[in-house]
Amino acid sequence: MKKLISLVLSCLFIVSLPLANLFALDWKKHAGSEITILMSEHPVLDGIREVLPAFERDTGIKVNVNALAEDVYFDRMEVALRSEKGVADVYFCPMDSTAFNQYLAGLIEPLDGYINDLTETANDYDLKDFPDGFLQSARFPGGPGSNQYCLPMSFESYILFYNKDHVNQYLGGKVPETMEELIAAANTVKEASGGDVMGAVIRGKRTDTAIDTITGVVMNSWGDSKVEYPQNIWFDGGWDNPQIDHPNVIRGLSQYAGLMSAGPEDIQAYDWNEAGTAMQQNLAAFFLDASLFGPWFESDESPSKGKIGYTVIPPQTKGGQSYTAHWQWGIGMPANAQNKDAAWYFIQYMTNKQNEPVIGAKHGGAARMSTWANPVYADTLNPEYVSTTLESMKTTRSSVVMKEGWSKYALEIDDVIQRIYEGTSPDESAKIANEQFLKFNAQ
């Protein structure tokens, strides 16, 4: 009996071999084509650049990289998607209302056709390796029957970075345990150092792109109450009920403004690169922003290497629960792309199980769960950074709001913080925002 079973099994095995080959992906299928990728300067791009020679070798597809500074990138991306003749086959996709608006305008290509086609996608691609919460941010229009429009390339959750030297010197080595303590500690450092060391640095520039960091801080104040989508925490039940004046929202926005006040005099000109640079040059004690900064702070060329401590955003009460938000950069395909099949090969290659760890090592925000268990990725990263990020992931919620024209609402939320920073009462600032939201709805 045993002999029979093993014989049958071996026959099945032998037969399945050519069958497996039948389903193995022909990477060279689109050899000879040429694609252009449009991206912003970002650690993800550094990772792609490393993997690019292998991709060109394995597929025979030539890749032109068109990389821009981030602010120009956002403008050019919109131009590229609306070109009569496609100028990019692949683009760096912000997985939030930006992509949603692009979907509404019919500018991006759904990827499901490719993902489910075994002649175009390797059978070990394993879409389920991505947390569903990440995929959801670019699944439109949302709900059953939706299509996947972008695949995640990196995620960031909002955490607290601190400079261990400054904390030791000015705070006796005590890391703040609540938000109030954090703001007080930052101010202490600022005064005690005579202004030489900034207490806290954070994005203080008036822009709609700070909304995700802002959401992180407000989520921490929102606490364990339920968050409804697509309205997120900014509306109560429907688009017609803005709730910027909800006590938890006001508290979060005020705390953000409080951190700004513990920063340098020109904090209102600080975007993420100014704030990040200050931290990287050891000029600040605290920095609250995307986890992605971690690997850069630890790189060899950074004066901050080895000096940074990582922790989740301090909760509202001692020993309480910290919350945060997360956001992703993804990769998508313009609807006007000229070489869609070759583009799909690129997208697939850069987001598959083999290459994500390599790219991920550059930005520390791998989207696949399997990558975090992969030593190629995890071993390159500071362990405190890894543990903090993983812990933040337990209580993070998406910062995405799927609304047409969301960016002007986001700018208004930033304006609430700017007003509070400049002295207006938080209640008054929030009330103005609620009114503005209703005005925007009417337009």
Partner: protein, 276 residues
């Protein structure tokens, strides 16, 4: 007594001149110094005054494909735009000088308004039609768009220079049997060559330094050098070495123009201001 007063005025003049020259040169020299510093030294607290200069930035920047492309693009765009503007403006200026054009006043007014219009007015409308004509992100397209600013200027300038040619020479040529084309080509053109040079140089400077229209009507293939410099803002840390050396490289051709062709430029700016 008068002699002393004369010296006093001259001395104050030289003091003012020295201050102005220092105020002008120091920022440029500082940026030049930054471009010669090696990577770690660019931004130190406090700034380093003495260091070992190195030309690595200037070598590295030419390896930057984007930068070299934008440099070449600027050369192409500027050349095309100048050829276009001078040739068309020459005919227009000639027409205005020599013939009785009925709508001359309105035409001159139009030139001035077109010259003064804000750049942003052009960008969105032209984007659409340029895409259809294939002029979008093309050297010729940009050179054509620039005519809205350099053509009026060239017409004014060339007209002033043409006006300096005495009428008798024109009459003599006609009596010799020259038609309009020939008169323009054989008689006027050689005489106003310095004027044409001045106009071309001033146009070149404006085109070379233009940003707004280029921002709206180029994408990747025909970006000029101004966009190339702007692109040095990287993701976290700005590539200061690239940006400073790129800036110096962008400035150098124009500065050479300024030093060599200073007289032409002055004459051009003054006459261009007179606008006929």
């Amino acid at each position: 007594m008068i002699l002393l007063k004369k010296h006093k005025h001259l001395i104050t003049a030289y003091i003012v001149a020295t201050l102005a020259v220092l105020a002008t040169l120091l920022p440029i020299i500082w940026v030049g110094m930054l471009s010669l510093k090696s990577k770690g030294e660019t931004f130190t607290r406090p700034p380093k005054w003495f260091f070992e200069p190195t030309f690595t930035n200037y070598v590295k920047i030419w390896e930057n494909e984007l930068f070299t492309n934008t440099f070449i693009n600027s050369i192409l765009i500027t050349s095309i735009a100048i050829v276009l503007s001078i040739s068309i403006a020459l005919f227009a200026a000639f027409a205005l000088k020599r013939y009785n054009i009925r709508f001359k006043g309105a035409f001159m007014q139009w030139l001035l308004i077109a010259y003064m219009l804000p750049e942003f007015l052009f960008i969105i409308p032209m984007y659409g039609i340029y895409q259809k004509l294939g002029f979008y992100d093309a050297h010729f397209g940009l050179a054509l768009m620039y005519q809205v600013h350099v053509l009026p200027f060239s017409i004014w300038m060339l007209r002033s220079f043409l006006d300096e040619v005495p009428k008798e020479i024109d009459d003599a040529a006609t009596m010799d049997g020259c038609n309009a084309f020939e008169t323009l080509y054989k008689i006027y053109l050689p005489l106003i060559l310095p004027g044409i040079t001045a106009t071309a140089i001033l146009n070149a400077i404006w085109i070379w330094n233009e940003l707004t229209i280029a921002l709206g009507l180029t994408f990747s293939d025909s970006q000029p050098i101004t966009l190339g410099i702007a692109s040095f803002r990287g993701y976290i840390s700005i590539d200061w070495g690239g940006m400073t050396s790129g800036s110096i490289i962008a400035i150098i051709p124009m500065v050479i123009f300024a030093l060599i062709a200073q007289k032409h430029i002055v004459k051009g700016l003054t006459l261009g201001s007179v606008k006929g």
